[in-house]
């Protein structure tokens, strides 16, 4: 299968490419978070809806899908600079503005809905409010996804407020006791800033809550991943399961330090600053013909 090939789309892209930015800028503007698409179980790549919350520009998704609809929440400044840098990149991207609680598209219009920075723009830190908002938006995302489609949700965990639940309560009590000491050790092991120490225990509830909300919204399959070391440096994407987490942590250090033991105990969410969810709608029995995307309302 060693066959060199260049598609006409790639050729157009090369022709329109601007000069390489100076001093390492090319290394920091590459939006590697979009590589989750290579592990997504998506069979059709026609239309994607990109709910903009300051994540990767729509152009990053436009290289994977035939059409991308970028949706800006009302009141947000539309960042056209982030959308385009040349006709070759914007020809397949349409920008609209609407409330996320009532997406202006017909049912089953998209193969994929992309929602990065999902907790960022609500202007509330009350968990009950956020949960209500997420429930409503997930329902809308489910509605506009075709059967077999995929919702991607990227979350920087520091944005998740509220009290821990379930096992989180016990861990919260334990970590309060040794909290500051543990935080110091964790920071020391990974050389990371530890400004979100207070949120560590609350991460345990995020995974369960999001899974629950997505399932209730009607998604038939929910996959959770951790992103390490952070939302803005997504250098590793790890399935949120014990086996992969242990393998990953073993590769990070020769000795079994506190991180490894936390992983071994199943307290993975304490270790990672960003989560990612892929939620799939139930596969159709027979593939329907692709429909036209229509604006609603």
């Amino acid at each position: 299968m060693e066959r060199p090939a260049t598609s006409s789309r790639q050729a157009r892209g090369h022709a329109a490419q601007p000069a390489e930015p100076a001093d390492g800028a090319a290394w920091t503007t590459d939006h590697p978070r979009s590589n989750w698409l290579w592990v997504a179980d998506l069979t059709r790549w026609e239309r994607a809806l990109d709910i903009q919350s300051g994540g990767a520009p729509a152009a990053a998704w436009g290289r994977h899908f035939r059409w991308v609809h970028q949706l800006e929440p009302p009141g947000a400044g539309v960042d056209f600079a982030g959308v385009s840098s040349g006709e070759a990149e914007t020809a397949n991207i349409a920008v609209a503005r609407a409330s996320l609680g009532a997406l202006p598209y017909r049912d089953e219009a998209f193969d994929c809905v992309i929602w990065e920075g999902a907790l960022k723009q609500w202007g509330t830190t009350r968990r009950a409010d956020l949960t209500a908002v997420l429930r409503q938006v997930f329902g809308e995302c489910r509605r506009v996804l075709r059967p077999g489609g995929c919702l991607y949700v990227g979350i920087a965990v520091a944005a998740w407020p509220g009290r821990p639940v379930g096992a989180g309560r016990l861990v919260a009590w334990l970590t309060r006791s040794v909290g500051r000491l543990g935080g110091v050790i964790l920071r020391g092991e990974r050389g990371q800033p530890g400004s979100d120490g207070a949120h560590r225990t609350e991460r345990l509830s995020l995974l369960r809550t999001l899974r629950g909300l997505l399932t209730k919204a009607g998604f038939s399959k929910v996959q959770a991943f951790y992103i390490d070391p952070s939302y803005h440096q997504p250098w590793s994407i790890i399935p949120a399961r014990r086996g992969p987490v242990l393998v990953y942590e073993r590769r990070q250090s020769a000795r079994a330090g506190l991180r490894w033991w936390l992983a071994w105990l199943g307290l993975h969410p304490l270790l990672y600053g960003s989560h990612m969810f892929l939620a799939y709608t139930r596969e159709p029995k027979a593939q329907p013909a692709p429909g036209r995307v229509q604006r609603r309302g």
């Binding site: 390492g24 290394w27 590589n35 989750w36 997504a40 990767a56 997504p234 393998v247």
Partner: protein, 346 residues
């Protein structure tokens, strides 16, 4: 798993164990440094090493395969796949390089290697005793030399020619690059003269990125990883200088607070003596004299700094190397016998 990636994985499979569907919980994305396809325009050096790696796990979470995924425009991955296949087929070197296959589509290049278990040398090197460290460096460099010599027969197309390398000629583009980055005329002249004194050297394919994270200890032998740069440099002793400098860095021998590499190499402490002795012994094995060993050291520093700059990495990455080059040039201009200072007396 994305069907486009699944197809490439299936195309790489020999045993048939990658043909079956890979579950979402069996794939870990690592070194995710660049979008595929690239979100911003990239050419040449900028494409190199951008993309991500994939660790595929078997039942029970045991790592089975290590995959490199790169944009279609990357020229190094196919090259590395060819190197690994050749080395793995060779009876003498099959234990050094893993079983590897490659496949590509319009968007993505894929390389699949059997997962190589083992302890990275990078984890061990900071804690080794002085004698253990010296012995391990000697063993690793012996393996690397064996690979370089054997690869010339296995991969004859990789050699840029049969003539010896004229060091000042191969160094000229890198010196010009550093000249455009602000290196002074007098500094460039001093470096060029010292490199010219090395004359010609026998051509030898170099690993190109021989440093502790790319070396594993497994079942009583050393294994080398990451051959993406293999053969880019064909100047003997280049790998030795890179390996010794990066080992010393991991042991805290050289850092911004303790001065540059050349300063530390010239110092009187015992670990610096181990470094000098290692370089001197390897130079002797390769039949190089002190002027040639110094010429290659200067070429190595100049080439690394220029190469990092060409790849578009942030200035903070290549600036310390450029500073090292400036120091070397200033020392040469001051008339110091740099051969003896950094390599010791033969």
């Amino acid at each position: 798993m994305n069907p486009k990636l699944s197809q490439l994985l299936a195309a790489c499979s020999v045993e048939g164990d990658l043909v079956g569907p890979i579950r979402w919980s069996e794939a870990v994305i690592l070194q995710n440094y660049g979008a595929i396809p690239p979100a911003v325009g990239k050419r040449g050096f900028y494409v190199w090493n951008r993309g991500f790696n994939l660790l595929l796990l078997g039942r029970g979470g045991v790592p089975l395969y290590f995959c490199k995924c790169r944009p279609a425009a990357d020229h190094n991955l196919g090259r590395e796949t060819a190197v690994l296949k050749a080395l793995n087929r060779d009876l003498e070197l099959s234990s050094v390089a893993p079983w590897t296959r490659g496949a590509r589509s319009e968007e993505l290049q894929l390389q699949v290697s059997e997962f190589v278990p083992g302890d990275p040398y990078a984890f061990d090197v900071p804690g080794l005793g002085e004698r253990q460290w010296a012995a391990s460096m000697r063993d690793i460099l012996t393996v690397a030399r064996r690979v370089s010599i054997r690869a010339a027969a296995l991969l004859p197309d990789f050699l840029a020619g049969t003539d010896p390398v004229v060091l000042h000629e191969v160094a000229a583009p890198s010196l010009a690059e550093l000249g455009s980055a602000g290196l002074g005329e007098d500094q460039l002249r001093a470096l060029e003269a010292a490199i010219r004194r090395a004359g010609t050297l026998p051509r030898l394919l170099q690993h190109g990125d021989l440093w502790p994270p790319n070396i594993l200890w497994h079942q009583g032998s050393w294994r080398l990883l990451d051959f993406e740069s293999f053969g880019r440099v064909q100047v003997p002793l280049y790998d030795v200088h890179h390996f010794v400098r990066t080992c010393a860095s991991l042991r805290g021998i050289c850092s911004e607070t303790t001065g540059g590499w050349l300063d530390r190499l010239a110092s009187r402490d015992r670990e610096a003596a181990v470094c000098r002795e290692t370089i001197r012994r390897e130079a002797c094995e390769l039949g190089l004299d002190a002027a040639q060993a110094l010429g290659v050291l200067l070429y190595y520093l100049v080439d690394m700094a220029a190469h990092f700059r060409l790849r578009g990495v942030p200035r903070a990455f290549w600036e310390p190397l450029a500073l090292e080059v400036r120091r070397a040039a200033d020392t040469l201009n001051a008339g110091a016998p740099l051969e003896e200072v950094v390599l010791g007396r033969a």
